[in-house]
Symmetry: C2
Subunit: 143 residues, 2 copies
DNA sequence: AATAATATTTAGAATAATTCCAATTATTGC
DNA sequence: GCAATAATTGGAATTATTCTAAATATTATT
C-alpha cells in the first residue's frame, strides 16, 4: 500500500514542523487511515497494519496515532466509553453512530451552524472545539 | 442528607415502573447527585457516599448509577476517555468542559437549535440523541 | 561512509475504570 | 413471619491504554 504523494508531503511537513521523524510505521498507519475511512480503533489498525508490516507492535500503533493526533493530521473520535476511534477527515464535521450496524458516518457541519452553537455559550465562555455525536439509525438500517 | 419528597416520588415511580426496588443506596446516590451538581465521577460519588453510608461499596455505586441511567433519572457525561461523569439535569443541554479549571457547565439548548442539528442529517438517518461537548475556557478562567 | 547523538520501536509490565462473580443481606408478596 | 426474589458487597477479572527499558533506526557530524 502506498501513501499518495500529497499526503506523504503533508505528513513529512507536519512531522518536521514538530521536530519528529518520518518513519515507516507512521507512514503506514497514516496510509491505512486514509485508505479505509471507517473510523477504526487502535486494535483494528493494528490488525490491518500487520498484514503488510508483521513486526509492528500495538504500542507503536498507539504511538503513531498519538503523533498523528498531535500534529493534527487525524482526529480522535469517542463514543461513550468505547475504544477510541481515528479519523483523517479534517473538515468540520460531527459523527453519526448507528446503533444497529455500528457504522460511523461523518456529518459535515456548516460554519453557520457552528456559529450558532457558539452563540449559545454564556458570556465569558470561549470554546476552541465542539464535539458532536449523533446516535440513532442510519440509512441502511432504516425500517 | 435528605432526598426531597418530589424527587423521592420520582425515584420510586421510576424504579417501580421498571420492576426494581427502592433501596437506601439508590436513594442516597440519587440525593448526592441532586445536591451537588458538579458532574462527579463514580469514584467521587463513592467518596461522598461513604461519609454518610460508610459500608457502601464502589460496585454498588456503579450499580446504582446504572439503574438511575436506565430509568432515565440521570445522564452519563463523557469527555474523551476520562472517567464517566453523572448529571441529574434532564433538560436538553450540552456540556462545556473548561480545560483550565476542569469545571463542567451545563449549556441549555433550544428546541430550535436541536432541530437545526437534526436537519443536517442526510436522508434516511434518524437520531434519537445528540451529544454535544464544548471545550475551552469558562468565565472564571478568562484572561 | 563511519560515528555519535537522538528519536522511535518493541514486548511486556503496569495502570485505571469498569464489570463480573458468588456469597450475604435486604426487600417484597403472601 | 416466611419464602421468593432482588440488591449489595468485596474481591477478582477485564479491557483499553500507558509506561518502561532495551534494542533499533534515523539524523547530524565528521
Amino acid at each position: 500500500m502506498q501513501l499518495e504523494p500529497q499526503y506523504k508531503e503533508l505528513l513529512d511537513t507536519a512531522l518536521e514542523g514538530s521536530g519528529q521523524r518520518a518513519t515507516k510505521q507512521r507512514e503506514h498507519v497514516y496510509a491505512l487511515l486514509l485508505q479505509k475511512r471507517d473510523h477504526p480503533t487502535a486494535d483494528e489498525i493494528y490488525a490491518r497494519a500487520r498484514s503488510e508490516m508483521p513486526t509492528i507492535s500495538l504500542a507503536t500503533v498507539y504511538n503513531c496515532l498519538e503523533t498523528l493526533v498531535e500534529t493534527k493530521l487525524i482526529r480522535q473520535v469517542n463514543f461513550e466509553r468505547e475504544p477510541t476511534r481515528y479519523c483523517p477527515n479534517l473538515t468540520q464535521h460531527a459523527h453519526f453512530y448507528c446503533r444497529e450496524s455500528g457504522e460511523i458516518v461523518d456529518i459535515e457541519l456548516s460554519d453557520q451552524l457552528i456559529g450558532e452553537l457558539m452563540k449559545v455559550l454564556p458570556k465569558g465562555f470561549s470554546a476552541q472545539h465542539i464535539d458532536i455525536a449523533y446516535d440513532g439509525k442510519c440509512n441502511h438500517c432504516h425500517d
